[in-house]
């Protein structure tokens, strides 16, 4: 290339023209210049030759250019990541700020947030570093939850991901609890009986204390043998009372707690298919662990039960 100032000035345009990226004005400028300047004409020819070589390089086979193995390994790592990956949303529910998280398999965590300290730190502690905030993925779940809390929906038919369960025992407790119908209550000992561990009332209570999916797995429907609500989400027994009230289960305040009055509830003797008045036969003397209580006939019948043909709760309903 000539060191003439005009040539130095036109040099970038040579590159632009050779690359085929030139605007008409630059192309014209270059054309005009190289017509009279042999050195720059030669330079342009070189750059065009380089473009040709680069084109050949692009088409030339690239050693090792077989992505099949890498692709297979990527697919397997993606599948693994999908299994571990959790998306979550935080919503201001009628019960206070609430976190909903879901994985590829289903909903994995519902959590009342304390509202103290950093939410981000709390989320990291609960879900790990891989969690992604994705309100779009959890928004529909929240909408259903609100319908439920407003009494406009009686079921949350969500696919659940219970891989985070602490033990096989807890998983069995959660499964049994999930089967309690809307508007019904059973005792901790009753759940223990259902999973074939009749003496394990206290471990059942402990397992439900760590329920990863409150509301969805209705641990609020599980109460003490005396009818006392006992506990919920730490010390938030009022929340349990509120959830039961939504389902039509009445409670009476009692010291620092609430009590479900079994004398004012319809009862199912577990194993039967009919619901009774609380005084039917020997029901009044049975332990609560053998019963499921319903706040109303509608709820008992919605659970598929028929009125008892002896005590006839359909003819002699409890006064509301």
């Amino acid at each position: 290339m000539s060191s003439h100032p005009v040539c130095r000035e036109i040099e970038p345009d040579l590159l632009v023209v050779a690359s085929g990226e030139a605007a008409p004005a630059a192309a014209e400028r270059v054309e005009g210049h190289v017509a009279g300047c042999g050195a720059c004409r030669e330079e342009l020819r070189h750059y065009r030759a380089i473009e040709g070589l680069v084109g050949a390089l692009r088409r030339a086979p690239l050693p090792g250019d077989d992505a099949a193995l890498a692709r297979a390994e990527l697919e397997s790592r993606l599948a693994d990541l999908r299994r571990r990956l959790v998306s979550f949303g935080i919503f201001s529910s009628p019960l206070g700020p609430i976190l909903i998280a879901r994985s590829e398999l289903g909903v994995s965590l519902v959590r009342y947030l304390a509202g103290r300290g950093s939410v981000a730190a709390e989320v990291r502690r609960l879900l790990g570093e891989e969690a992604i905030e994705d309100r779009a993925a959890t928004g529909a779940l929240y909408a259903e939850l609100v319908e439920y809390l407003e009494g406009r929906r009686t079921r949350l038919d969500w696919p659940l991901d219970l891989r985070g369960a602490r033990s096989d025992f807890q998983r069995r407790v959660l499964d049994a609890t999930a089967q309690l119908p809307y508007g019904a209550v059973a005792s901790y000992a009753g759940i223990a009986r259902r999973i074939g561990a009749p003496t394990a009332a206290r471990p059942v209570a402990q397992a439900l204390r760590w329920n990863p999916l409150p509301i969805v797995i209705p641990c609020h429907r599980v109460i003490g043998g005396s009818g006392a609500l006992v506990g919920y989400a730490g010390k938030r027994v009022a929340l349990k009372q509120r959830l039961l009230a939504i389902e039509g289960v009445r409670t009476l305040p009692e010291r620092d707690d609430f009590r479900v009055p079994r004398e004012a509830m319809y009862a199912l003797h577990v194993g039967e298919s009919e619901y009774c008045l609380p005084i039917c036969g020997s029901l009044a003397s049975r332990p609560l662990s053998e019963l499921v209580l319903f706040g109303s006939r509608e709820r008992a019948e919605a659970a598929g039960l028929a009125p008892c043909t002896t005590c006839r709760p359909d003819l002699h309903p409890l006064s509301a």
Binding site: Y47, G64, A67, L74, E75, L78
Partner: protein
Amino acid sequence: MEDDPFEAVVGAYHAEIRRYLLRITARMSDADDLSQETFLRAFRAHRSLPPGANVRAWLFTIATNLCRNYFRAQKRRRRAYAAAALDRSETDAAWPEAEAVAREARARVEGVVAGLPIKQRLAFIMRKLHDLDYPTIGGSLNCSEESARAHVFQALRKIRRGLDGLIPAKTESQL
């Protein structure tokens, strides 16, 4: 819980991104690792991508960032050059004898590219071998569109000097 559109992203771009990384690192194992890492990162982030975003450009940006970390943190640059030289000699053997001059010229281009400073090399490969536009290249390299173009042109100038004497003088018949 539902079909994941990311499957289609992998299908459409994995081979190309790996080819890009292979050109940059000249090592199959590194191209495998970095391409996997590119897509794993993309998978974690793709939900926050605005609708209609240029996914291909975005993947190149992720891959380019990984490359820069790779060279910065692990200081493998020298090893990669050595490997590039090796791969070239293997490739040379596969090319027909008749192409001798063009082959030599192509090898010389590859040699110059392998020796370029990293930003120029990335910009050159993105532009000339993968047809990305300058805004995308600038975005990948954290620089302006103009700087991206300057990197590519600087690379071309060096290739031009590296080819001195290899491009035959023009004969009158080519005029």
